[in-house]
């Protein structure tokens, strides 16, 4: 089915609906809220990376001035976690701390200072345990266990999938290219520090305002841990001052203030310090990777084998999904006829890793795109033309059964080739200057929800009345990506009104229908589809009433420019408000709903839940760099990026997302890293805005953004995601450009000056001009699941099950021969 055609709103640069509030300081972020008699909460956090809690003495703290309540792990014994398979977190650690910063106790007091002083007065006796600071040490140290669950020792998750016989694929190759890569962890660093305010209403119910991207999942966690009926818990997601994935887990501090509000009967607020935000983390997993590719002389892949080892930190978080994601999307850009993926995630004594913009895919994308550059170099091919020749076709299934719909990568490549002057630059700039290319793709929402259910992923309700006012309700959360603007735009487009005419009410579990949250780039596609459905139903009500009034068939009714009229005689009609009055008179009180559930994926094997998406966005990116050959310092003056967004619902916000993605990618490429001190108990090296390097105006490059619009049948108006994909190609494009500039490979992110200089020094000394990991520690990835690719007759199931299934069918038709 072709997507709905845009009217007068979608595709334009209409105003961001929350703009006026944001520029006047009126937007209320969670920390901006205050209530009468409000108490302040402070958490006492573990000073040890791994230790048993022997005893906690809170008596002195409880007696301090202003203190109203003190909590420890005993008060909140129920575990929680974002994934059903990793319910391994506690609001306060009951018996064990697993990283420096793990919360142990909480205080509510009249002022924040009093709460802090009291927290310092809590005595905790610890027995220290051996600390694990990396995948290597986790593999070496199966005991003590950081968690008493997982696939083996301190290995949280093992994955081994093979799609087709990769050995055969390698045997058919003209060349085999192998290399190891490392992607250091980094974090979201939203400018807003997390904050929450909870209150117990006089009827015994709970309400919490929080800086969360996922009010629905927080709602579930609160219900579970507090043992309250879900209907008595209200979560209001405040606008987030940046999220990027860092506010998409339910957090211990949120549960703690809720509990304190219930206990004290007073509103309780917490505002995390920047250091504490680093402890919440859930950012990029440090990932070691090895890539083996078989290629023919023309650059066609014959087989691809990826290994990834993820340093998960102290808790599960989204980690199982992250691990699958490090192996999922390698197949959607270039044809990969046979593919094998081995991945593992280890528990370590560091703040937990999770989903950061690109969730699990930037690391392998970096490895793959640098690998493609190597392959082109080895084969003497132009890396851009080589990629162009072997693109995964539109409307196709990949080896791992991902359903690709619209696919604009070819157009993206051509665009950046022309705009960047690629042909004149690549391999031709003077030493010290270079250009590099990389491509990428990202999901527009995951095909499956985080917990198993058969419910819609997104719901929208519309309320219209005689005032002509339209209110759109949806559980989605605006984290700056502009989802409120998309919601208003989709509704306004269908109803022929202005987006600013639509009041949006979002992210409130009492008022709005469930939307799973602002993660995995799902909101525009899923909420957008739900909004279009609800708006089309409302349109039908309005058009029907007007048709009756005008005495023309409903098909002839148009809604445009706040008018509802006869298409054949546009003068015949009425204002939108008059139309609403007619509709309310005809139908009674007006309200419609829309919902969205993604199509079912053809993949059936275990682990097939990660990767499928209703639509994939595509990107091609060229970075230009200047490398100082004496210091190794890298400057990026300019980036060209083409992004296949399917359809830009709003041009301004779409370009904003692309530029923001490039910005964050640039930071990851050059400087951002979560670094820890091994010598002092795996402490975070510098949990501050000053020492965690986020690019300033002085580092940010110029960006030329090209939107490629190849409408996808599954997207609202054909739209796909824009929030995450554009970050992905930046890191490999920069690394490839450094190679073009000075002839050395830094197979590690960030590409910092010391690494470049080291590689240059090696090159000068006659060694390989490379900086990167030598290899991966030996590991067991578990038993392999084999799935035949579609072109070899696979049906998406595990081969074992496929054989059994087929045999079963035969066995049931005894007389059929």
């Amino acid at each position: 089915m072709a997507p709905r055609k845009p009217g007068k709103v979608v595709g334009t640069a209409y105003l961001k609906v929350d703009g006026p509030d944001k520029v006047t300081g009126r937007t209320l972020f969670a920390d901006d809220l205050a209530l009468p008699r409000m108490l302040w909460c402070k958490l006492l956090r573990s000073p040890h990376a791994h230790a048993r809690i022997l005893a906690i003495d809170t008596a002195a703290a409880a007696a301090m001035p202003g203190v109203k309540a003190v909590l420890t792990g005993r008060d909140l014994p129920t575990p929680f976690g974002i994934l059903p398979v990793s319910q391994d977190e506690h609001a306060l650690c009951p018996d064990r701390v697993r990283f420096i910063g793990d919360p142990v106790a909480a205080v509510a007091a009249e002022t924040e200072e009093q709460a802090l002083e009291a927290a310092h007065a809590i005595r905790v006796d610890y027995e220290r345990l051996p600390e694990i600071d990396s995948v290597q040490s986790a593999l070496r140290t199966p005991e003590p266990l950081i968690h008493d669950y997982g696939d083996a020792g301190n290995v949280h998750k093992r994955i081994h999938l093979e799609f087709g016989d990769t050995e055969k694929g390698f045997a058919e190759a003209d060349e085999i290219v192998e290399q190891n890569y490392f992607f250091e962890g980094n974090t979201h660093l939203p400018l807003e520090q997390h904050a929450s305010l909870a209150v117990k209403t006089p009827d015994g119910k709970l309400c919490i305002w929080s800086s969360t991207q996922t009010p629905h999942y927080l709602h579930r966690a609160l219900t579970k841990v507090l043992g309250m009926p879900a209907a008595h818990v209200r979560v209001v997601a405040c606008p987030n001052g940046g999220g990027f994935g860092g506010k998409s887990d339910p957090f211990n501090h949120e549960i703690v203030v809720a509990k304190l509000a219930l206990l004290t009967g007073r509103p309780v607020k917490i505002g995390l310090t920047r250091e504490e935000v680093f402890y919440c983390h859930r950012g990029r997993h440090p990932t070691l990777m090895s890539v083996k590719a078989g290629v023919r002389r023309d650059g066609a892949l014959t087989a691809l084998h990826f290994r990834t080892q993820l340093d998960g930190g102290a808790y599960g978080s989204y980690g199982v999904a992250s691990t699958y994601y490090t192996g999922a999307l390698q197949t959607v850009t270039y044809r990969v006829p046979r593919y094998r993926f081995e991945g593992l995630r280890a528990f370590t004594n560091k703040p937990p890793c999770g989903p950061k913009r690109g969730h699990g895919t930037p690391q392998p994308r970096f490895a793959l795109e640098v690998h493609m550059d190597r392959i082109a170099e080895r084969l003497g091919l132009d890396p851009l033309e080589m990629r162009l020749r072997h693109l995964q076709p539109a409307n196709s299934l990949t080896a791992n059964f991902l359903q690709v719909g619209s696919m604009g990568l070819g157009k993206c490549l051509e665009e950046v080739r022309e705009r960047s002057g690629w042909r004149e630059k690549h391999g031709k700039l003077p030493r010290g200057r270079g250009v590099g290319l990389a491509c990428s793709s990202y999901i527009s929402g995951a095909g499956l929800p985080i917990y198993w259910n058969a419910l819609p992923h997104s719901g929208v309700q519309l309320r219209l009345d005689r005032s002509g006012g339209v209110t759109a309700f949806c559980g989605a959360t605006d984290i700056g990506q502009g989802s409120d603007t998309v919601l208003a735009g989709c509704v306004a487009d269908v109803l022929g009104i202005d987006p600013l005419d639509v009041r949006v009410v979002t992210g409130d579990t009492d008022l709005t229908p469930v939307d799973l949250g602002s993660y995995s780039s799902r909101v525009t596609l899923m909420m957008g589809n739900a909004a279009v459905e609800a708006a089309e139903r409302a349109r039908a009500l309005v058009a029907g009433a007007v048709a009756e009034k005008l005495g023309v068939p409903a098909e002839r009714i148009a809604l445009e420019d706040r008018r509802v009229f006869d298409l054949e005689d546009p003068a015949k009609g009425m204002t939108f408000q008059e139309a609403c009055i007619a509709a309310e008179a005809k139908h009674g009180t007006l309200g419609t709903v829309g919902s969205y559930t993604p199509p079912r994926s053809p993949a059936r094997f275990r682990g097939a839940g990660v990767g499928p998406s209703p639509a994939y966005s595509y990107q091609a990116c060229v970075a230009e760099v200047e490398v100082d050959p004496e210091t190794g310092e890298v400057k990026v003056p300019r980036i060209w990026i083409a992004h296949d967004v399917g359809r830009a619902i709003n041009r301004t916000t779409t370009i904003g997302q692309v530029e923001g993605g490039v910005y964050m990618g640039l930071g990851e490429a050059l400087m951002e890293e979560m670094a820890y001190r091994g010598n002092r108990g795996v402490v975070h090296k510098f949990p501050s805005m000053l020492e965690y390097k986020s690019p300033t105006t002085r580092e940010m490059c110029e960006v030329e953004t090209i939107l490629v619009e190849d409408p996808d049948p599954n997207g609202p108006f054909g739209g796909k995601e824009a929030g995450q994909g554009p970050l992905l190609p930046v890191m490999p494009a920069v690394a490839n450009a450094v190679f073009d500039a000075v002839g050395v490979r830094v197979d590690e992110i960030p590409v910092s000056a010391p690494k470049v200089l080291k590689a240059l020094q090696r090159l000068a000394a006659g060694q390989e001009g490379r900086y990167g990991p030598a290899g991966l520690p030996a590991a067991d990835y578990g038993e392999v699941t084999r799935v035949l690719p579609p072109w070899e007759g696979g049906d998406g199931r595990d081969m074992k099950k496929q054989e059994v299934g087929a045999g079963g069918v035969r066995g049931h038709i005894p007389g059929g021969k």
């Binding site: 956090r45 573990s46 000073p47 040890h48 420096i100 924040e112 200072e113 505002g271 310090t273 920047r274 250091e275 004496e630 210091t631 190794g632 400087m671 001190r677 010598n679 002092r680 108990g681 402490v683 975070h684 090296k685 510098f686 949990p687 501050s688 000053l690 020492e691 390097k693 690019p695 300033t696 105006t697 002085r698 580092e699 910092s752 000056a753 010391p754 200089l757």
Partner: protein
């Protein structure tokens, strides 16, 4: 939110009152000027003075006047943004103005002062951390602990002198004026610093830094280069200040005299004397610049307590010194 610990606030009306207040407060007292160094340190509980004496607004600290022998006397209370845009400075003391302009951000430079910059606490990323963080490493020698985690066997602290203007002022041969109830003294800026992360200044706690006197611009030249990760916010991981008297024009003038001072590679600004000796009395050729870079590389001993790796920070001394010399021309 990180908040300041409580203290008593005093605002003197004049110089005499300021130094008297400071003397009265004793070890519990502390001056504050722009507060851009002191307040963060206090929020992290690296310092908790009971009495804070606010000298920022003292008019006597805010002047720019002719110094002895044609030099320039800068009040210690001048804001960094005033230093970077001061006309007299821009004309004759480009390295000072430039050095000031590289400090942190335009916003911070509207607050931070010249005096505060020279007296900025030494830095170390085991130390510039919150109380909670420092507790998790069992504190360190500089504050509340016994061991230096940068060099655990060491009897001293290696925190880094990270002021951008310190190496510039040392290279220029500037002087500071210090005043206390005991009287006034002037010392070369070089003598203001001690090579110890904890006792990093020879200024007595009760002394007020009132002015910095720059030498007359009688033909010397000076430059300052700063290495850091980002072009804003960041402290130097290497600052290179070079002052020289060059004789004869042309592309390779003769070096009559030269001072090369490295910042952020030790607890005090570091004179690269061997490099200076190589240059003195010789033409400033490209080769000489490179040789000077190599000679300056040797004594630079950065420790692993700032941003970026110590190996790299040492390695870039070579090109940075050579480039600074080239900028003289």
């Amino acid at each position: 939110m990180l908040r300041l610990p409580p203290f008593e606030y005093l605002r003197p009306a004049g110089l005499e009152e300021a130094i008297r207040m400071r003397a009265d407060a004793g070890p519990a007292g502390q001056f504050v000027a722009g507060g851009t160094d002191l307040w963060p340190n206090m929020k992290r509980r690296q310092e908790t003075p009971a009495v804070v004496i606010d000298i920022a607004a003292l008019p006597v600290l805010r002047g720019v006047a002719a110094g002895p022998g044609g030099g320039l006397r800068l009040g210690a209370g001048l804001r960094l943004s005033e230093v970077e845009s001061q006309r007299d400075l821009l004309a004759a003391y480009g390295a000072v103005a430039h050095g000031a302009s590289t400090i942190s951000t335009p916003l911070l430079r509207n607050m931070g002062t010249l005096g505060g910059n020279l007296l900025l606490d030494t830095r170390c990323n085991y130390y510039d951390q919150t109380f909670e963080w420092r507790r998790s490493i069992d504190f360190c020698m500089k504050k509340d602990g016994d061991t230096c985690w940068v060099a655990p066997g060491s009897p001293r602290c290696w925190a880094v002198q990270s002021s951008d203007l310190a190496p510039v002022m040392v290279a220029l041969g500037a002087e500071v004026t210090l005043r206390s109830t005991a009287g006034e003294r002037s010392i070369p800026v070089a003598a203001l610093y001690a090579d110890d992360g904890m006792k990093f200044t020879t200024k007595r706690p009760e002394e007020l830094l009132t002015a910095v006197t720059l030498p007359a611009p009688d033909g010397w030249r000076a430059v300052y280069r700063k290495v850091r990760r980002r072009g804003s916010f960041d402290f130097p991981v290497l600052g290179t200040a070079v002052w020289a008297r060059l004789a004869g024009g042309g592309p390779e003038p003769l070096v009559e005299d030269v001072r090369i001072v490295l910042g952020a590679v030790g607890s005090a600004p570091l004179r690269a004397r061997a490099a200076e000796d190589l240059l003195r009395g010789k033409p400033l050729t490209e080769e000489a610049m490179r040789a000077a870079g190599a000679a300056a590389w040797k004594p630079a001993k950065p420790m692993d307590n700032t941003d970026l790796t110590l190996g790299w920070r040492k390695d870039v001394v070579r090109p940075e010194v050579a480039r600074a010399l080239a900028e003289l021309l």
